[in-house]
């Protein structure tokens, strides 16, 4: 029975995973005992630490290795890197943190960072941040590295922005202006439609890309704080604010690609490249799909337009990857030093020397490796007041995957978003936490 799920499989996986974690835990005990011996509050004189890494692809793996080598040379400490495949690491994070985690580990900002911080499974990093200097990071990045209790729990490495991507030559030849307000935006859509273009390229076969449009409309209409509270389910989905988001979205559904539900973002990127479609809201990774260097140089982006004057364009969607310390790792001085190094321009330059696709977060880092579009993205991130992490990182993952994906797809095809049912589902799922 190849790859066929039986009702038993998931539990079997969990059991095996549990056993594996247990075994790893037993093996790791002496090491950790050595690490944590007789120290408190990051003042240990230990010379060794461990880093759990989900950077399993060759390019990011080389980046992390370069950073770690730099740290070892500078401090004389030794770091053991335990790399696991990206998905496995992400899926096993619960049992990982609960068992015997490494001192430091790769993670990302958002709901689960704050959730584990609130559960006391990770260590606060205020000392590290004091040494790094908060001003060396954009306001949005600082905000995104902070837990619910106001302490910092996360050292950012890199991120990338979500914005409307388009071809400069198309806008020039048709005389289009980059819209900054919602009215300009809808007027531009109408004009593009008249010109025989698909105004808003859209691909949601995989379910998640539509989340970006929701995030932006919600942040522009109701503000960043409402968005984050809604993601944490401190606000109700069955509210006037959420209904307004979908009413606004509905007004431009007619301009979206009618085949959105049958297309992947990769296929949609080709519609932008071939100028069949006008603009495409996606992460800056969209340009990786465009192979022709001439077309790539012709790509540009603009930020999601202002919808309500009070909120302006203050929030930016830019998922951040970085590092955290487990509870035990917080007591290990070497681990604290390691994370500090990861946040310095020196450490981040070493990362970007191996992985030039990403935008480093320390403002003092050397950005000469970026192309023009990358530099613009870096500036946009640095200037953002608030940074959101995308719905599947900002909200409970089960809610994002099992509720929002089908609900948004239903909205795309019917124009209806059932706020009452979504609220009931949210109640049930968040109550399971």
């Amino acid at each position: 029975m190849p790859a066929t799920p039986t009702p038993f499989t998931p539990t079997r996986r969990t059991v095996l995973k549990g056993a594996a974690v247990g075994a790893a835990g037993v093996a790791g005990l002496p090491l950790l005992a050595a690490c944590t011996g007789g120290s408190s509050g990051g003042g240990s004189s230990s010379k060794s630490t461990t880093l759990g890494s989900s950077a399993s692809d060759p390019v990011p793996k080389a980046g992390v290795a370069a950073m770690v080598n730099g740290f070892e040379k500078k401090s004389g400490d030794t770091v053991t890197i335990n790399t696991k495949s990206h998905n496995d690491f992400q899926n096993a994070i619960n049992s990982y943190l609960q068992g015997s985690p490494d001192d430091a580990f790769t993670w990302f900002a958002g709901y689960r960072m704050r959730y584990y911080a609130a559960k006391g499974l990770v260590a606060p990093l205020d000392d590290v941040w004091d040494k790094l200097g908060a001003d060396n990071f954009g306001k949005g990045i600082q905000q995104a590295s902070t837990g619910e209790d106001g302490k910092k729990y996360f050292v950012p490495n890199y991120n990338y922005p979500w914005a409307f991507f388009y071809r400069k030559s198309l806008f020039q030849s048709k005389g289009y202006q980059v819209p900054t307000t919602w009215d300009d935006f809808t007027a531009l859509c109408a004009q593009m439609k008249k010109d025989g273009l698909i105004p808003i390229a859209f691909g949601d076969k995989d379910g998640w890309p539509a989340m970006g449009t929701f995030d932006y409309l919600n942040m522009r209409l109701n503000g960043y704080q409402f968005h984050i509270d809604l993601m944490a389910h401190k606000e109700s989905w069955n509210s006037k604010q959420v209904a307004t988001v979908f009413d606004t979205w509905k007004s431009v559904l007619q301009y979206q690609d009618p085949q959105a539900l049958g297309l992947t973002w990769q296929e949609v990127a080709q519609k932008i490249a071939t100028q069949k479609a006008g603009m495409f809201l996606l992460g800056s990774f969209v340009t990786q799909q465009i192979t022709d260097p001439k077309v790539k140089a012709d790509m540009d982006f603009f930020e999601f337009p202002t919808v309500v004057e009070a909120n302006g364009q203050d929030a930016l969607e830019a998922p951040i990857d970085g590092f955290m310390l487990s509870k035990k790792g917080g007591d290990n001085g070497a681990a604290n030093d390691l994370l500090e190094y990861f946040g310095t321009p020196e450490g981040q330059n070493l990362y970007s020397s191996k992985d030039p696709n990403q935008i480093e977060t320390n403002l003092k880092a050397d950005f000469s490796y970026l192309d023009a579009l990358g530099k613009k993205a870096q500036q946009t991130i640095a200037n953002a007041k608030y940074i959101s992490q995308f719905l599947d990182r900002d909200a409970l993952p089960a809610f994002a995957n099992d509720v929002m994906i089908p609900s948004l797809q239903t909205f795309l095809k019917s124009g209806n978003f059932d706020t009452a049912t979504v609220e009931k589902q949210a109640q049930q799922l968040y109550a399971q936490q």
């Binding site: 190849p2 899926n91 069949k276």
Partner: protein
């Protein structure tokens, strides 16, 4: 194989009542000991594997389906009564579409795919020229994994670069792949389930064909001749004589069809992860239990529902199989 157990059970009795020579008894006992160890291993290991990998997780799944758990400490498992079940039945929009799609899957395979397989088997059984080649052609999809079948058909159906829409585009340019008018085989929720069913049929037909080809070869030609002598026409011979004579195969085919429709998963997962018109029970279980979307209580409840539904054909199949052994 069947000799050894008999000698094992008989040995002590004979040794007591008849008191055979010591030499013979020792040989028997030695065999018995080894047999016991061998049998112990042969039965014990599978039983252990079955217990640990199947029964334990099954029981755990049923238990977890009545709880809510964040997946952290075991102490965080809290009772949720039948909350997870009322949630999936009342507040989980994809659940009932998934049930409908599973039923549709079963009906489609039973009414279209399986008879088609039978038809092809009957045609290929007619000693037509190149029969072997046709058999191979129809059987090739069966050898591919369902995931691969999904990938192949995804390439056929894609509205941006797909083969099907490209062919349609040759006749009607406005419907060419990549044009806004192209048929959205994968994204239109009214169409995509049929697209998935055709992909499933492509594989299922070959499977059924090979089963019936074997069955047809096993039917005694004398039966057909006798029917022909009695004046039956071709249709009557097939439906009144040949088809009933293939009863064991028919049962296997029915069970295979039911199981295929219950475990349908791979194709819709490749198409769009089982959302937007392609909801299936198995896909919902996976969405809720594995990976980012993990909600252990709810996923377990879905798995239990699927388990209960699956038990029906499994029980029928097992009683049929073991019942047949008893009455030769």
């Amino acid at each position: 194989m069947s000799d050894n157990p008999t000698s094992v059970t008989v040995a002590p009795q004979t040794s007591q009542s008849l008191a055979p020579p010591a030499k013979r008894r020792r040989r028997l006992q030695r065999l018995t000991k080894r047999d016991k160890i061998v049998l112990g291993f042969m039965v014990g290991i599978p039983v252990l594997v079955e217990l640990v990998l199947i029964w334990l997780p099954t029981v755990a799944s049923v238990g977890l389906s009545f709880t809510k758990w964040n997946g952290l400490a075991l102490g965080d498992i809290k009772s949720n009564g039948v909350g997870n079940y009322s949630y999936i039945f009342q507040n989980y929009p994809p659940f009932w579409p998934a049930v409908r799609h599973n039923i549709l899957w079963l009906l489609f395979l039973a009414v279209i795919a399986t008879p088609l397989g039978l038809l092809i088997a009957v045609l290929l059984d007619q000693r037509i020229r190149g029969s072997r080649i046709y058999q191979t052609v129809f059987f090739v999809p069966v050898m591919l994994s369902l995931a691969l079948v999904g990938i192949i058909w995804e390439l056929m159906y894609s509205p941006a670069q797909g083969f099907l829409d490209s062919v349609i585009g040759l006749f009607d340019h406005s419907k060419d792949a990549g044009q806004p008018g192209a048929i959205d085989w994968l994204g239109d929720p009214n169409i995509n389930i049929w697209a998935a069913l055709i992909a499933a049929t492509w594989k299922h037909v070959g499977y059924i064909m090979i089963l019936y080809l074997a069955g047809l070869k096993g039917v005694d030609p004398a039966l057909k001749e006798a029917a022909a002598i009695d004046g039956a026409n071709e249709r009557q011979i097939f439906f009144r004589v040949v088809f009933p004579a293939m009863r064991p195969i028919n049962i296997v085919v029915v069970v295979v069809t039911i199981i295929e429709s219950l475990r349908a998963f791979d194709i819709v997962w490749i198409f769009n992860k089982g959302t937007n018109g392609l909801e299936l029970m198995s896909a919902l279980v996976v969405q809720n239990l594995i990976g980012e979307g993990q909600a252990i209580g709810i996923g377990s409840a879905l798995a239990v529902v699927l388990l209960v539904v699956s038990l029906v054909p499994i029980v029928i199949y097992l009683t049929r199989t073991f019942g047949k052994d008893k009455q030769p």
